[in-house]
């Protein structure tokens, strides 16, 4: 049983979408000061005793036609961020602008329209499909809710199945449990595309797949992006995959953006010590270069009570007194296009850090290791 992507269906479409409103330079999505704290209740009166600061003052933008990779350890707020963007949960604070239109505001676009334009693919391919619907029905469900005739919706669904590399005659009537993991993820992608969205949020969409299947799905995502002229936000903890798919990369740590910039600059010259450590933790397929000393010690701190000042300072080899006093600022990430920004005092010459103005590459690699061992 071969699942090859049928090339003939993937004729390129001219750039520019009929629904393009803001023009080329308008970012697809602008996120400003987004915040979500989850309250923790306790005590006899069940009052709020603490908050999990899942997403804290996050700003960035996604350009049209680009792939923005989002990386970070588990619990850093990547998935909460994705859910806030889709309005699957209400945010505490913050504004979203989709292609020039504010979201869920009187003069902007409605949530219904936002969800038609922006769709999401989740990590767990099985639990995101209805086990009691054949996959064709699952894919056709969205369009029929949005007022497309049932027959048209089904025809569209068959077309999409073909496009994601599943033969409609063979697969249309099957139930999710009759498919393999890779096939289910293809169905999820087809379903996300059923409403003709302009942007896809892929939340660890390939993480649960085997390597050979992961490669197939990544190739498929590449074809679909070119064919439908899509914009991706690609959330993953796999740094190799993010490097392969992304145009720009956003690094999160404990609910905050610590670094954002073009993929080449982030991977070749990271400015934030956390990004540096993440990149050094990548495993290289070479038995001769074994990592002897871990680039980072310990687990991320508890987001209920994050460290004062810079949140990374407890694990940072360069932390100084200033890092505990003041939180470093990322700069204006909302409208950043190709700028490479990092929230670290070292990058700011006037912040008062003793190593301010130096690049992490200039500080010797051996030195980092020595500091890390001394610090712990």
């Amino acid at each position: 049983m071969t699942i090859a992507v049928p090339e003939r269906h993937l004729l390129p479409v001219p750039p520019g979408h009929p629904h393009d409103r803001g023009g080329k330079a308008q970012p697809m999505l602008i996120v400003q000061n987004l915040r979500k704290f989850f309250p923790i209740h306790g005590g006899i009166l069940n009052r709020k005793v603490a908050e999990v600061k899942a997403v804290d003052n996050v700003s960035f933008s996604v350009q049209k036609g680009e792939t923005l990779g989002v990386v970070g350890e588990s619990g850093c707020g990547k998935s909460t961020l994705a859910r806030l963007l889709m309005h699957l949960m209400p945010s505490d604070q913050g504004t979203l602008v989709f292609d020039g239109d504010p979201v869920d505001e009187p003069r902007g676009i409605s949530l219904r329209d936002l969800r038609r334009n922006m769709q999401m693919v989740f990590q767990d391919s099985y639990s995101s499909l209805n086990p009691r619907l054949p996959i064709l029905e699952s894919i056709a469900y969205g369009p029929s809710v949005h007022g497309v005739k049932r027959a048209d919706a089904k025809a569209k669904a068959r077309d999409l199945l073909e496009k994601v590399g599943l033969k409609p005659d063979l697969f249309a009537g099957r139930y999710p449990h009759e498919l393999s993991g890779g096939q289910k993820q293809r169905v999820n992608i087809a379903r996300a595309l059923a409403l003709g969205p302009r942007m896809l949020i892929l939340d660890e969409a390939v993480s649960a797949l085997d390597k050979s299947v992961e490669a197939q799905v990544l190739n498929l995502l590449g074809y679909l992006k070119r064919h439908f002229n899509l914009t991706y936000m690609f959330i993953s903890h796999d740094l190799h995959v993010v490097q392969y798919v992304s145009d720009r990369v956003l690094v999160m740590y404990l609910g905050q953006v610590v670094e954002i910039g073009p993929v080449k600059q982030i991977y070749e010259a990271p400015k934030h010590p956390y990004t540096m450590a993440l990149l050094k933790s990548r495993l290289i397929i070479d038995p001769d270069t074994r990592i002897e000393i871990p680039p980072l010690v310990g687990d991320p701190p508890n987001p209920i009570n994050p460290p004062s000042g810079c949140r990374f300072r407890t694990r940072c080899p360069y932390a100084e007194a200033i890092c505990a006093e003041r939180a470093p600022s990322l700069g204006n990430a909302t409208y950043a296009r190709d700028e490479h920004l990092a929230a670290c005092h070292i990058t700011n010459p006037i912040a008062g850090h003793s190593m301010a103005g130096q690049t992490l590459q200039a500080l010797d690699g051996e030195d980092i290791v020595k500091r890390a061992t001394e610090a712990h």
């Binding site: 350890e73 390597k211 197939q216 990544l218 798919v245 290289i284 397929i285």
Partner: protein, 346 residues
């Protein structure tokens, strides 16, 4: 009471393998189907050697390892072949003997520590339980040992963690606690079933380094199951690649990762994303693994293989030795040199 295994005539010496598996087959039988999970697997592990078994989900790597611990449900599993670990013939042991072997001679670390640890006991109690069970010592002595073990796996502030419940620990600490349980009786063989897969990259490398250090210190044999070639590069001495319940390539970690020969191993390397050029497609293996209920005759990889011809679907190839213990089971690697196969695949 040791049930001395008499496979060959050579007596147990330091040079004889710690683990010998010969022609292991495992079938899961139910009313609907007969799943042939493992089909004739043979391998040895020397004392102090780390063998990495690499394969995709459903390739039989975990099933092979669980057979060594006899963890499969008896009623529905048919196991054939021979397995020897240290002085024990695994197939011939009684259930009572097997219980005393588990945790002392052979122990295991699982992928998901939250389900493997008991949520109602503290970490200290769980480590001490294993120590008391196998070494028949008092609780105080066992608790002292638990503390040492937590220090050994580099858990920060171990006195406090001893009294912690599993849900109070982070994923990385839980995995270390489970390693402490597994190492509590100084096993000769440690079975590790994807122990770092669920961890973050920064934590994964910490756990791998601790595991490698302890393995060298104890001189344990380790069988490490993973699907990540990068993990294998970090820890393995020998690598075995499994596909559809068979070992299709085996060799030293250098041979396997730097000059693999089997088309499946080459395909796996090509489809693993590590620094490929952007905007070009990854060289993915087409298709999906075979249905283990209905395996094709001949080479199981033939339906997905670019080099396959009629002979490949007719019979399963015999092992071919390429020197230095590097073995493949593929008709095509015998006809061609590695370089030629590589160019075909790429």
């Amino acid at each position: 009471m040791p049930n001395v295994y008499q496979l060959g005539k050579t007596p147990m010496t330091a040079q004889s393998p710690l683990v010998e598996v010969k022609d292991l087959t495992v079938n899961f039988v139910s009313r609907e189907a007969n799943v042939r999970a493992v089909n004739g697997v043979s391998f040895d592990v020397m004392p102090g050697e780390v063998l990495c078994i690499i394969g995709e989900s459903g390739s039989g790597k975990s099933v092979t390892m669980r057979s060594l611990m006899r963890l499969h449900p008896k009623a529905r599993t048919v196991i054939k072949g021979q397995m020897r670990v240290a002085d024990y013939d695994i197939m011939a042991l009684s259930d009572r003997e097997m219980n005393s072997v588990r945790g002392s001679t052979i122990s295991m670390v699982f992928q998901e520590p939250m389900t493997a640890l008991d949520p109602v006991y503290t970490i200290g109690e769980q480590i001490a339980e294993t120590v008391m069970r196998h070494e028949k010592c008092s609780e105080d002595v066992a608790m002292q040992r638990a503390l040492e073990l937590l220090q050994m796996v580099k858990v920060p502030s171990p006195e406090r963690r001893l009294k912690a419940y599993p849900h109070e620990l982070s994923g990385g600490l839980r995995q270390r606690a489970m390693m402490a349980v597994a190492l509590s009786c100084r096993p000769q063989l440690l079975l590790a079933d994807e122990p770092t897969t669920a961890l973050d990259a920064t934590v994964q490398i910490q756990v791998l380094i601790v595991l490698r250090k302890l393995q060298e210190e104890f001189g344990m044999g380790v069988i490490f199951v993973t699907h990540d070639l990068g993990v294998a590069a970090q820890i393995a001495d020998k690598v075995a690649v499994m596909y559809a319940g068979r070992i299709i390539e085996y060799g030293s970690v250098r041979d396997m990762l730097l000059s693999p020969r089997h088309p499946y191993t080459l395909g796996l390397m090509a489809s693993t994303v590590h620094g490929q050029t952007r905007d070009t497609d990854i060289d993915a293996i087409p298709g999906s693994p075979p249905d283990m209920r209905d395996l094709p005759p001949g080479c199981s990889f033939a339906p997905r293989c670019k080099l396959a011809d009629a002979a490949c679907s007719a019979a399963f190839p015999d092992p071919i030795d390429h020197g230095n213990g590097h073995m493949t089971r593929c008709f095509k690697t015998s006809e061609q040199t590695s370089a030629e196969v590589t160019t075909h695949i790429a």
